[in-house]
Amino acid sequence: MLSNDHLPARTWEWLKVNDIDLKDTNGLLASATVNEHNIPAGGAGETPVYIDCKVGGTESPASLHNFNIEAGASGTVIQFITTDGGNDLSGDFVLQNRYHIASGGSFTLIQVQNLNDGWKFYNDCSGVCDDGATFRRIQIVLGGGYTYMGEFCDLTGEKSRFICDIGYNIGGTHNLDMNYVADHHGKNSGSDIHVSGVMSDHASKIFRGTIDFHRGCAGAKGAEIEEVLLLDDTIENKTVPLILCDEEDVEGSHGATIGRLDENLILYMKSRGIDEDEIYTMMAHARIDSVASLIPDMEARDRVSEMICGPIERECLRK
């Protein structure tokens, strides 16, 4: 079972912002093998573990990973989800990550998605953070047809933390559906969800961000911030922030900046000889760059840089 559509309230149905159907994924998940990963107590995985998901080739249509981070251990996993083969390939792919981070442990999951537009991608992640544990998630979405991605982070432990940074640049008819839940149970637990994206053409996006403060999580703090740059009038953009509160001593906040580039900024850049297309490209890449710069591994950052710099090969430089 995926948790992309799970929310402990009926709000979405009333708002009619939850029309995805995940039933088709059950068959794919049933046929997949589960990859178990363990980082032993006190271990520090200084070298990140790379998991390349080359969709469309010999790769199974589903990939499941369980990560167990023992007490005090830390580890980083980098997943690149790319298309293997021609651009005409299409299909469904499910990636599911489960984690358990024991006391004082930390786990960073970095995902970079650059699929072609024929793919329907289900990217599911959920897990539990014990006392003082930290789960860090960095996601970059550069391509795909339909992308359903989500997170359900159970902040059970006291002072447990969930930090999530998402950057996306979607165009064409890419449909991006996001659901992120920080489920606060532990005292003084914290969550930060930061989403920064660019939309163009006929792309559509929905971001549901939920901070759920359960009774007993006194001192917990949660924040979600979204910044969207809209490049065309034909896009469809929806944002559904939700803060549920069953505890008095908590702080929850949401902020969103949705809009176009400021005309003064455009004029300033034009006054240096930079044309409008280039300005939008630069600003779009800047959003992804700001998330990519959080990736601690230089090799992964370089790969992201190559992926996003490809389209800005300027006409004047092709000679």
Binding site: D262, E263, N264, L265, L267, Y268, M269, K270, S271, R272, G273, I274, D275, E276, E278, M282, M283, A286, R287, D289, S290, R314, C316, L317, K319
Partner: protein, 265 residues
């Protein structure tokens, strides 16, 4: 000397307000011109109109640059042709570093890929000349810069982009004595390295000290009401704009404002 910029009868308005009421101005290659005038005279509007700011509607006249009519040309084309406007209030550009911004502008201007090593060397040498900490190269353009650093970043762009005409819109305003000195040094360096023309909009003489001023123009109510050599700058500094506002004392018998006033009498 060849005409680099020629403005004939330029009229412009923003929304319903006429700001420029027929400007004639010719700048030759390598010349230094100074525009002075009281607040609200239209000095910045003139700079904005030359660079093609679409918020100003040109209702009459023509602007020619290097013999090509740029009256209705888009800003990026005018800039690529070699016009540079140093903004009075430089804009913050989050996400784009100062180095990337300049490198992109240079590549687009020259149409050639610039080797990172060469670019970085040249950029850092220029930053040092302007007394800028080189770490600013990797900071988002103008984001969190002090007023002085923003103005230095403008002059840095001027020196790196090497335009044929630089319009400096009150680049020296709001700066302390040391910062004005550094900015002046940068402008002097631009003259030395590039030999380009300058149109300097200013209220003070400090930025002009190291430059040879060819012509000074006084702009009042959207018209150039007087012009002269560098001596006019000193005269204005001593006596202010009073005599230009009170047109009776104006020496320029061709002045439209004066003519109108005389006609009214």
């Amino acid at each position: 000397m060849d005409d680099l910029l020629k403005i004939e009868g330029l009229k412009a308005k923003v929304e319903d307000t006429e700001i420029l009421n027929g400007i004639d101005l010719t700048i030759g290659r390598g010349e230094v011109h100074v525009i002075m005038g009281p607040n609200g005279a239209g000095k910045s509007t003139l700079g904005s109109c030359i660079i093609g700011d679409p918020r100003y509607v040109k209702t009459g006249g023509h602007i020619t640059f290097k013999g090509e009519d740029i009256t209705d040309a888009p800003t990026d084309k005018i800039a690529k042709m070699g016009v540079f406007l140093s903004f009075q209030n430089p804009i913050e550009v989050p996400g784009i570093t100062l180095a990337n911004f300049i490198r992109t502008a240079l590549e687009l201007k020259t149409g050639e890929r610039i080797r990172m090593w060469d670019f970085r060397k040249s950029l850092e040498a220029t930053m040092k000349l302007l007394g800028m900490d080189t770490s600013y190269a990797d900071r988002d353009l103008n984001v969190g810069f002090s007023g002085g650093e923003k103005k230095k970043a403008e002059i840095l762009q001027l020196l790196m982009l090497k335009p044929d005409l630089a319009i400096l819109d009150e680049t020296d305003s709001g700066l302390d004595v040391d910062a004005v000195h550094i900015v002046s040094k940068g402008v002097e360096e631009y003259k030395k390295q590039v030999g380009g023309a300058l149109l300097i909009i200013t209220h003070s003489t400090r930025i002009l000290e190291a430059l040879h001023v060819d012509k000074t123009h006084v702009l009042v109510d959207g018209r150039i009401v007087d012009h002269g050599d560098a001596g006019l700058v000193n005269e204005i500094n001593d006596n202010g704009f009073e005599r230009f506002i009170n047109c009776e004392n104006c020496k320029n018998d061709d002045c439209e404002v004066k003519k109108k006033l005389n006609d009214a009498k």
